[in-house]
């Protein structure tokens, strides 16, 4: 029965094998172990999924072992499989395995091949802990672990200090969010005495509400989610994380890790249903982030950065759905997003690989004939993200927009309007990317143009699979599949007649975005540059990413550095600690110096001292005798 434990441990075995032996046993071994074990985990997940359906919808629970018994408290490590975690596990292991296979082609010439695969497997292990964990405690272990794996992989080429710094930034920003997560966890434990998800949800859905503010806990846990899922204000690490290898960006920063925040909120839907304040906050931040990131993506020139901001924006959509109570819909978008975003990132990787390392869109163009498979898969995924029917993105994004408009749990036309406009922008910048990379006349330099070649089958095959999934994946309506455990919110009956018109409007939005992109970028960058000059101020603001990084640096970074340098280092460490040590040494030295003056070498002085002592003893004896 320990199927769930097996699923979790298979990638761990991969990490250990590749980590310890990989460098010595060669590329073949590493590839087989590194890809094979995740594939096995995927097959095990399928088996678990079938077992689940057979059990009439009840969840599978496994207690792996007792972690600690402290005082009267027992902490177990347990795994929990219901429809939500089954779906997440399938995504993680399925898309994960595909990306592992892709990596065998992409990272073929890298000297750190074994290390790469061991880190990737480590990531899978922690991610599975996260989604399969029965309690917040196990989930948190996975949460931290994926942060670690992310750091290791972003800074994979650590010889470059900029890349290493990006890894550090990701980890530290996550840590800030984790403070909120921990506080929320502690509050829950203090009130309920348990970390288990099912118990927490039941407690909040039950007749007697627990003695803690659901909104407070909700906000605290959401702070953790903003860190992990790159929402405002902790989004700053994701664009920098593009310093890592592209398959890493695809797996961690598109398909799986960044969706952990969404998973957490969805998993605790029982709590969030009772926390209207927290839910509203989530919806607002979600839509704001979506809009904000989309505007920045309009002017990005690095192919991966566009996709990074696009990910932030799409995550914003997911949080919007969570905020209005449509938990199943958010998970639906996680599912479709995994397919098309992974396809886009891997496609970008293929482009970069073909061009021998070029990432700047301004130096691409005219690639659609040279690398057709990459082009067509990229195009399908772009259409999916833009929400064009009948591709996957259309279904999930459409549901989000509908519930943003009509949900009784916080939906409003304002949210809908901003989200729709963002969808327009999404279509625009994605098609802009497509055109600039592939369809405009070539702006490549001759060297690169010569070297352009299609990527190997290990890469293009995966792209094809993901493109197919992006196309047809939407037909599996995840939100309906999850309805037994995550009921969809009530919608305002008065607005129900607007559902179909809104769908049509959404499609039109996508097409308008496409048309606008084609208009501006059809023949290259000329028209865009003129527009940029006309709106120079706006362009500068967007190119500077709204100067958020600079703001953080000034408000947080520099004062902290100042405090560290001047107060802790200068005063605390140097003066206090070193000073006290030096002071002790100086004291000893001074005392020794002064005491040493007794040794004058003068015999008579010594005699004087001796007799002084004798007289003192005599006096004392006489006094006290």
């Amino acid at each position: 029965m320990n199927l769930l434990t097996l699923i979790v441990l298979l990638p761990l075995a991969g990490f250990l094998l590749n980590g310890l032996l990989g460098a010595r046993l060669g590329r073949g071994f590493v590839s087989v172990v590194g890809c094979g074990l995740p594939i096995l985990a995927f097959l095990a997940a399928i088996r678990a999924f079938t077992q689940l359906d057979g059990a009439a919808g009840a969840a599978l629970v496994e207690n792996a072992y007792t972690w600690a018994v402290v005082g009267g408290f027992t902490f177990e490590v347990g795994f929990y499989l219901d429809r939500l975690s089954a779906l997440m596990t399938l995504i993680v292991t399925g898309v994960g395995s595909l990306i592992h296979v892709y990596s065998t082609g992409y990272m073929k010439d890298d000297p750190g091949y074994a290390r790469y695969f061991s880190y990737l497997n480590l990531f899978l292990f922690f991610m599975l802990l996260l989604v399969l964990g029965r309690s917040l405690l196990v989930c948190f272990v996975g949460w931290e672990g994926v942060g670690l794996a992310s750091y290791l992989l972003i800074g994979f080429w650590f010889d470059d200090p900029a890349k290493a710094a990006a890894g550090k930034k990701a980890f530290i920003t996550n840590r800030v969010g984790d403070a909120g997560f921990l506080l929320g966890m502690f509050l829950l434990y203090h009130t309920l005495g348990t970390f288990d998800f099912d118990a927490v949800n039941a407690a909040f859905q039950g007749p007697v509400p627990p003695a803690v503010s659901a909104s407070l806990v909700g906000v605290l846990l959401f702070i953790g989610a903003t860190g992990k899922s790159a929402q405002i204000p902790l989004h700053v690490w994701l664009p920098d994380a593009m310093a890592g290898p592209t398959p890493v960006s695809a797996l961690i920063h598109a398909a799986t890790m960044v969706t952990a925040g969404v998973y957490l909120v969805a998993r605790l839907n029982g709590l969030y249903l009772q926390a209207p304040g927290a839910s509203q906050l989530i919806a607002v931040i979600g839509v704001a982030t979506a809009f904000f990131a989309a505007t920045i993506a309009l002017v990005q020139t690095d192919i991966k950065k566009v996709l990074a901001y696009s990910t932030i924006s799409q995550l914003g959509f997911m949080f919007l759905a969570l905020g209005v109570g449509a938990y199943g819909v958010a998970v639906f978008h996680v599912y479709t997003h995994a397919f098309f975003k992974a396809c886009l990132f891997l496609g970008a990787g293929s482009v970069i690989h073909s061009l021998g390392g070029e990432q700047d869109v301004r130096r691409m163009g005219g690639l659609w004939r040279r690398i057709p498979v990459t082009f067509w898969t990229f195009a399908i995924a772009t259409a999916a993200i833009a929400g064009l029917p009948p591709l996957a993105g259309f279904f999930s994004k459409d549901q989000i927009l509908w519930y943003a408009f009509a949900s009784e749990h916080g939906g409003s036309p304002v949210l809908w309007a901003i989200a729709s406009f963002t969808a327009l922008l999404t279509a625009f910048y994605m098609f802009r990317l497509l055109w600039l990379t592939f369809l405009t006349p070539s702006r490549m330099d001759h060297e690169t143009e010569h070297h352009v070649h299609e990527s190997p089958i290990s890469m293009t095959g995966v792209l094809a699979v993901l493109a197919v999934l992006s196309a047809v994946g939407g037909f599996f309506h995840v939100h309906l599949f999850l309805e037994p455990i995550m009921p969809l919110p009530e919608t305002d009956h008065a607005l129900e007649h607007l559902e179909l018109p809104l769908v049509v409007l959404a499609v039109v939005t996508g097409l308008v975005g496409l048309a606008a992109a084609v208009y501006v970028y059809r023949s290259g960058l000329a028209r865009a540059d003129r527009l940029a000059q006309r709106f120079a101020g706006v362009h500068r603001l967007l190119s500077g990413k709204y100067y958020v990084d600079e703001l953080y640096e000034t408000v947080l970074g520099r004062p902290l550095m100042w405090v560290s340098q001047r107060v802790f280092l200068g005063l605390g460490d140097r003066r206090l600690i070193d000073g006290s040590l030096h002071g002790l040494a100086a004291l000893a030295k001074g005392a020794a110096g002064r005491l040493g003056r007794i040794e004058t070498g003068n015999l008579q002085f010594y005699l004087w001292l001796t007799v002084l002592g004798a007289v003192a003893s005599l006096a004392w004896v006489l006094g006290h005798g």
Binding site: G596, R597, I598, E599, T600, G601, N602, L603, Q604, L607, W608, V611
Partner: protein, 100 residues
């Protein structure tokens, strides 16, 4: 003042005077002689008490002290001589190498 008190006071005075001499004088031989003065003070006190006892034991002890004093001076003076020959002076200030 009775006899014993006088003699004890004298003994203490001789001892202290000898002590001052040892502390203060710079000539090595004079130093030795002041030490002899101290010793004499002690012997005086010993004799004072010996003369008041019923037996001869105190006196015998005094005699033994004389012998020891003689032996001591027999060694001390040659040592001082050698030291003086080394530094070509009798000044005790010449010997102060054990400085800290």
């Amino acid at each position: 003042m009775d006899r014993t008190q006088l003699l004890l006071a004298l003994a203490v005075s001789l001892f202290s005077l000898g002590f001052v001499g040892v502390m203060v004088r710079r000539n090595a031989l004079v130093l030795l002689m002041c030490m002899e003065l101290m010793l004499n003070g002690v012997i005086l006190s010993l004799v004072t008490f010996a003369s008041r006892s019923a037996t001869l034991d105190g006196a015998v002890l005094v005699f033994l002290v004389f012998v020891v004093a003689a032996a001591e001076i027999a060694i001390a003076i040659p040592i001082v001589l050698l030291l003086a020959r080394q530094r070509r002076t009798l000044d005790v200030g010449a010997w102060s190498e054990l400085k800290g």
